[in-house]
Symmetry: C2
Subunit: 307 residues, 2 copies
Amino acid sequence: MPVGTLVTMDPHLLRTFVTVARLASFSGAARELGYTQSAVSQHIAALEGDLGLPLLARRPVAPTRAGERLLEHARPLLLRLDAARADLTRMAAAPAGDLTLAAAPLAVHPDTLAALPATRVTLRVLPRDEIPAALAAGTADLGIVDGLAAPNDPLRLPDVAPLTATRVAEAPLAVHLPAGHPLAHRPGLRLGDLIDARWLDAPAAGLPLDRLRAAHGTPGFRPALRYDGTDVRTLTALAAAGHGLTLLPATIPPAPGATAVPLTEPRLVHRTELLRTGEPAGPAATVAAALTTPPQSARVGHPARRG
Amino acid sequence: MPVGTLVTMDPHLLRTFVTVARLASFSGAARELGYTQSAVSQHIAALEGDLGLPLLARRPVAPTRAGERLLEHARPLLLRLDAARADLTRMAAAPAGDLTLAAAPLAVHPDTLAALPATRVTLRVLPRDEIPAALAAGTADLGIVDGLAAPNDPLRLPDVAPLTATRVAEAPLAVHLPAGHPLAHRPGLRLGDLIDARWLDAPAAGLPLDRLRAAHGTPGFRPALRYDGTDVRTLTALAAAGHGLTLLPATIPPAPGATAVPLTEPRLVHRTELLRTGEPAGPAATVAAALTTPPQSARVGHPARRG
DNA sequence: CGACCGGCATCAGCGTTTCTGATCGAGGGT
DNA sequence: ACCCTCGATCAGAAACGCTGATGCCGGTCG
């Protein structure tokens, strides 16, 4: 299949456009990018002339409707471009002995830690959505991400670069409730029972509430206390203290004063996956192999192949 | 957050690289792209020099390991770039009166057809995975895609451009069996009961088998007859004739001599979604509104926001 | 009210990039 | 042995993209 025939839209122009939009200033963008203000002006003029549309309102500088749209295209495009470059230049360099692992907060499982070599390892905890970008940019060699999914369903991840995802583990889910909660003694809970409850909102550490809403197909799941850290023990403690419910993998023990009740419906699991760029090399390969004993691999770049 | 600082990797160079790789020929690519062979040679040299890696073996011309990797980056990149360009230039042109609708084979539902205006409409049936690209390229104004999904889960689609997906319908699933089949009189079937059966392999028309394997987490689901068309009636007839089983939305009636048995486990639905680029305008807006009476919208560009 | 100042547009000029066209060496087929 | 195709390389010409200077507009302050 032939790849398109248009091309143009020089990434340099896109980059200055994005910068101008972010700073709301031509001269500011020029300073940041190391250009003359004149050059920046010409860049924007070139883009607008090429597309036949005004992209920015001047005085004050703000993107037009078309400009907004171009930003939506340009930002991921530049991300991918940098990712491609980083990936390829990495292939040129010899594989270093050091290994950097980027992990989402709930994705670091004791088994995982046991599989790591003793030395020259950096473990970096990042928000889930930034891990693919970190891999792509070469900031990390291996990624561990987690999320809610139907059993055996791969996770949905931002598509910034051709990454390979491998299933590491799946665990059932449990709702953490304070011991005195009326539902705390049930053997199992359905998500529908808990729509009207108040939930901890912990986007960095836990499972985001909008994912629950999507899974159940309703709004609801009102946020109570918001926790911006990544520490899971704090989260369970908050649940024990009655600040709201949390849904966590069943492998996480509840804090004293709390109970973890298995979630029975819908059939969701907490899935963790290993992410890597292309062929693993050097120490990354060893760790990757150790983490994925039952190999169940899937490409995430083009998810629709499986849909 | 600032967008990366590297840039370079001129798309023109990437385009000639992709073309050279596809044609396995420098001069062939030159002919196709309207360059001199000399220019193509210099393009490749520039890329290789820039990255510090050989990308192509000469004589015969074939991508190296690094070249393969670059292709994986470059192809979606160019796709996105063209999509961005097409999207923006479309904004420049006045919205035409004509409406082109790209639909996956199983996604065209009677209700959908009823919602269409009487004139100036083109309905084009495409493989599911090509619909986002068609929208992005401006070949179609609206897309209708379908697929297997957990209830209330959005579909997984190739991420070529910022598209908006809206739920149109969800239907339960049914397995089509010949009337004489031992399981034909069951009230319901579980997917696990059918791993060892032979299945129709109809990637263009039906639900792909590898999606079933993913849903059940096992290999199995051996392909029997392969059907490359997109006609659903043929598919049901093939199932009736005993050429293999098919899984179809329960809204599709079985052919004479066949029975449709509801699928009870796992909890999967046949979901159809409406796709559009940014803000709908002109007649597309009317149709889009008509198709999505209960609005349940979601951005597909960055699926991880919900996971 | 007028001068000033910051910010974007425009222009000429020049250095660099990036084509073309010609030439060369290496293989492969006749 | 010859020719023909293919890719690499080189010199020159055209095109491109940057800088620095200048112009214009709007807001601000004496």
